[in-house]
């Protein structure tokens, strides 16, 4: 013991005084040697630099980017918006007298009767009379029994049907008696035509009342308060009658109205207090606003109609605030669309690169640069997790297979063969479709993708590990560990694993590139990472649209370049590691 102490003391003093072999020769562990050799390989360093840049871009870039990966950019833009739609009025419009019944289905019969020139038609066991008042103006009458007559022994009596509120005037009574006795079917009294249904001793007198009006005119009130009036049967009937008869005035409800303008563009005004106030315009063109909240004034409608008739495509109109607004008219068949510039908030799609968006925006209005950063995270992370998973399964199964050999080896290797028989793309596509169908959360999807890729990819690593361990197991130094009685776990982890490691590192680095490509392929096919998450592959997916591919290079080219560079980087580093681990290479 004392001797040893003096020896160590000797050694230490020796060491401080003299530059002996111990200090002169630098000791390099195999790891350091590999590192030195690696650093001497220019290509490997290039690869390493590429990878460092990629990692910084992906993992740090996201922190510096002012945007979020799924942030949608919008901007205000003036776009031509549909403002109003105009149609030439070609169908009959029906105005029904208040309180009367004229079912919708009867209108079809009415249209048929009009086209056939009939004077009456039947619908639902009810006969309606049809009177043409003028061109494209028809009234529909329904016979209403107003009075009954009775001739008893030459004595003529007449009584009104009480329900109708009809009163028998002297003129009516005289005219009715004359008509019944003359067996006439019609007579006129008080300026009204009545029909008589002779039944021998007693007859019924009917008064045909107009219950509906069919015309092609469009009524546009000047004030919203006048809408009630302009929609009423009496008003429309009066206007139409006046119009077809060429009259310029008519009176209704003790008010006098004046018609002015042409037949297809009439202005109806009411005479009040010595002046005239416009009530509505009557035309053959229907103008309706495209939004519910817009009220188009009759004046404005008249101007639109005027422009349509003049076949104009552009016109200007001063709106209520006094601003001059441009309008455009587009014609499709008999429909005219009036458009005007409207300010609205739109998604900034396919914005070319600017200072705000260095690589522009994509079809969803998201910043391409930011999505590349976040996408890189996912692409690289998928690569690493999958490789770790693959390597773990590969080491465990390959290690067991190689170390224990025998039937265990055979069983595991046949299992590997089995896995190699699974067609990769069909399986992944099926799983992708199933996930689509189940609408799995995009983040969960990534984990499932990682697991699937890892479970399908471990076989090659298992083979490599097994082969390596089989050859190492027979080496003398492994026999020596047995001869020196070192326990099995230590033999595996201190002797076998460190010797397999170099090969594994190379294999894993090389397969990283492959997995990034696979992930990109799957995402490109729409089976991998899904919106709103991004990966480089799913960003390139935009290029499936020919329009995007040909016009917006900045969306998909950068992602492609990143994938190429990263895979190249991994392959360079992998090659460099392989060369560095190769002991035959010069130091």
């Amino acid at each position: 013991m004392e001797k040893k102490n003096s020896e160590t003391k000797n050694r230490s003093s020796f060491g401080t005084q003299k530059l002996d072999d111990e200090r002169r020769v630098r000791v390099l562990s195999p790891g350091m040697l590999v590192f030195k050799r690696f650093m001497r390989n220019k290509l490997a360093i290039t690869g390493l630099i590429i990878l460092v840049v990629m990692f910084a871009f992906s993992f740090l870039g996201g922190l510096f980017s002012p945007y979020n990966q799924s942030q949608v950019f919008k901007h205000d833009e003036e776009i031509m918006k549909e403002y109003a739609t105009c149609m030439q009025s070609t169908d009959f419009r029906y105005t029904i007298r208040e309180g009367a019944v004229f079912p919708d289905a009867a209108r079809a019969q009415a249209a048929l009767a009009i086209s056939k020139g009939q004077t009456s038609f039947t619908y639902d066991d009810k006969t309606y009379s049809l009177v043409q008042e003028g061109e494209n103006v028809y009234t529909f009458g329904d016979a209403l029994m107003v009075a009954n007559t009775r001739s008893l022994a030459g004595k003529f009596s007449i009584s009104a049907v009480e329900a109708t509120g009809f009163t028998v005037s002297d003129e009516f009574a005289a005219a009715a008696q004359a008509a019944v006795e003359a067996r006439a079917s019609q007579f006129e009294a008080d300026g009204t035509i009545y029909t008589v249904e002779n039944g021998g001793k007693s007859s019924s007198i009917y008064h045909v009342e107009s219950i509906a009006l069919a015309s092609k005119s469009v009524f546009d009130p000047y004030e919203e308060s006048m809408e009630g009036l302009t929609k009423s049967f009496a008003f429309r009937y009066a206007v139409e009658i006046a119009r077809v008869k060429g009259q310029t005035t008519f009176s209704l409800d003790d008010k006098d109205y004046v018609l002015s303008g042409e037949t297809n563009e009439l202005l109806v005004s009411v005479q009040e207090n010595g002046g005239t106030t416009p009530v509505c315009s009557v035309s053959d063109i229907l103008v309706s606003p495209n939004a519910n909240d817009i009220f188009l004034t009759a004046e404005f409608k008249a101007i639109i109609r005027e422009n349509i008739r003049d076949k104009q495509t552009k016109f200007q109109y001063t709106d209520e605030t006094g601003a001059l607004v441009d309008y455009r008219i587009d014609r499709v068949n008999t429909t005219y669309t009036v458009r005007t510039l409207k300010e609205s908030r739109v998604i900034t799609m396919f914005d070319f690169p600017t200072a705000a968006h260095l690589l522009g925006t994509d079809s969803n209005g998201m910043d391409v640069m930011t999505r590349l950063m976040y996408g890189g995270r996912i692409s690289l992370m998928v690569g690493f997790v999958v490789v770790l998973l693959e390597t773990f399964i590969g080491i465990v199964l390959g290690g067991i297979s190689g170390y224990f050999g025998g039937w265990i080896d055979t069983a595991i290797m046949r299992f590997v063969d089995l896995f190699n028989c699974i067609p990769f793309y069909p399986i992944v596509m099926i799983i992708g479709t199933v996930m689509d169908k189940m609408e799995i959360d995009p983040i969960k999807r990534i984990f499932i993708l990682m697991a699937v890729l890892g479970l399908l990819g471990w076989t090659s690593i298992a083979r490599v590990v097994r082969g390596q361990i089989l050859s190492l197991r027979e080496q003398d130094f492994m026999v020596a560990t047995e001869a020196t009685g070192i326990r099995v776990s230590r033999r595996i982890f201190r002797h076998l694993v460190p010797n397999v490691m170099p090969l594994l590192i190379v294999q894993a680095t090389m397969s990283l590139g492959g997995i990034i490509i696979t992930e990109a392929t799957l995402s490109y096919l729409g089976l991998g990472v899904k919106y709103p998450l991004a990966s480089w592959g799913s960003i390139i997916n935009a290029a499936t649209n020919v329009h995007v591919m040909t016009n917006y290079w900045f969306i998909w080219i950068p992602a492609g370049i990143l994938i190429v560079l990263t895979v190249l980087g991994f392959n360079f580093v992998g090659d460099g590691l392989r060369d560095a681990f190769d002991p035959k290479m010069k130091r």
């Binding site: 040893k4 020896e7 160590t8 050694r11 072999d21 111990e22 000791v27 390099l28 562990s29 195999p30 080496q475 003398d476 130094f477 026999v479 020596a480 560990t481 047995e482 001869a483 020196t484 009685g485 070192i486 326990r487 230590r490 201190r494 002797h495 460190p498 010797n499 490691m501 002991p583």
Partner: protein, 324 residues
């Protein structure tokens, strides 16, 4: 007397099955070791000679139970090695060591030398942890290595230095018995001498017992106390070094010894040339296995297996020429 015998091998056989077909049916056996018996006393060195493929290394590995045996027994200090459980075997492992032929493949390339030498010492807790460093230093010095080599890796050493590391690894466990499996055949002559001398010095210092396997007769002559000659899995002659080298009895031994190069060019060498090559151990010749190449071959040799002939002084030979 019995305590004096460190290793006793009795009729040791090691056959390797030849498998064929889809289900690995055993169609034959390679008789690598076919009934070998010998004993080695404490502090002695037994040389095992024979041409390549005659089963020398298999004997060495099997008697350390690095291979399974087919039959026979190996007694280490009277204890049957093949009866031990794995745990018991692990406990006596340090006492039985081996030095390999190839110093390049027998050191783990990713471990520093100090670790290689000390790993098993720590594993078996042979020395207290605080004396560990000094102990390794001592062993390394004894094997002609410098303490500063401890942190280096095997690739930084020459073949001779590596073999010293292997010896140090075996020695560090304080063994009683070391199988030296052609420890110098991969080294050049000057280094061979160093290693042989080292082994001899260590034997004296630590009282080691060696089984020295070699095909180099001059080395065996130098280091051995007794010599066994093997041919095709059989031990054909055994005796003390003196007896065997002075008076080789078996025709194979005679042929073998006639091939030892003489340093004196004036002496005419009377070499016995063996014709043909060594037959396959999977299909050995009938009768005496050597009869196909023996120049003294008689009719009886082709049919009958020769019996052991004791020539006295623990010298025996297996040949029909003797004992009639």
């Amino acid at each position: 007397m019995n305590d004096d015998i460190v290793i006793e091998v009795k009729d040791l056989k090691k056959y390797y099955p030849i498998k064929a077909g889809m289900f690995g049916r055993v169609v034959g056996q390679v008789r690598a070791v076919d009934g070998v018996s010998f004993r080695i006393r404490r502090g002695m060195t037994m040389g095992l000679v024979g041409e390549s493929g005659c089963g020398k290394t298999t004997v060495g590995k099997t008697l350390l139970r690095l291979n399974d045996k087919t039959s026979g027994s190996v007694l280490f200090k009277g204890q049957e090695i093949f009866d031990l459980s794995h745990n018991e075997l692990r406990k006596i492992r340090p006492q039985l060591q081996i030095i390999f032929q190839d110093p390049y493949s027998s050191l783990s390339p990713r471990m520093p030398v100090g670790e290689i030498i000390g790993e098993a010492v720590r594993e078996h807790k042979l020395v207290p942890e605080r004396e560990f460093d000094d102990y390794i230093t001592k062993i390394m010095r004894a094997c002609g290595l410098q303490p500063y080599h401890k942190d280096r890796y095997p690739h930084e050493f020459s073949g001779g230095q590596r073999q010293r590391i292997c010896i140090a690894r075996a020695l560090a466990l304080n063994p009683d018995f070391i199988v030296c499996d052609e420890p110098v055949s991969a080294l050049d002559v000057s280094i061979q001498a160093q290693i042989i001398n080292l082994l001899e010095d260590l034997q004296k210092e630590f009282g080691l017992t060696y089984l020295f396997i070699s095909h180099d007769l001059s080395v065996v002559e130098h280091i051995s106390d007794t010599v066994g000659v093997m041919y095709l899995g059989d031990m054909v002659e055994y005796g003390t070094k003196k007896d065997i080298f002075a008076k080789p009895m078996h025709p194979y031994t005679q042929a073998l010894f006639s091939a030892i190069p003489m340093p004196d060019p004036t002496v005419k060498m009377n070499r016995i040339i063996l014709e043909g090559s060594i037959p396959s151990p999977a299909n050995p010749p009938s009768g005496c296995k050597f009869h196909t190449r023996c120049r003294e071959c008689m009719e009886i040799c082709k049919t009958e297996v020769p019996k052991r002939y004791e020539a006295g002084n623990d010298h025996f030979v297996v040949c029909h020429l003797y004992g009639k």
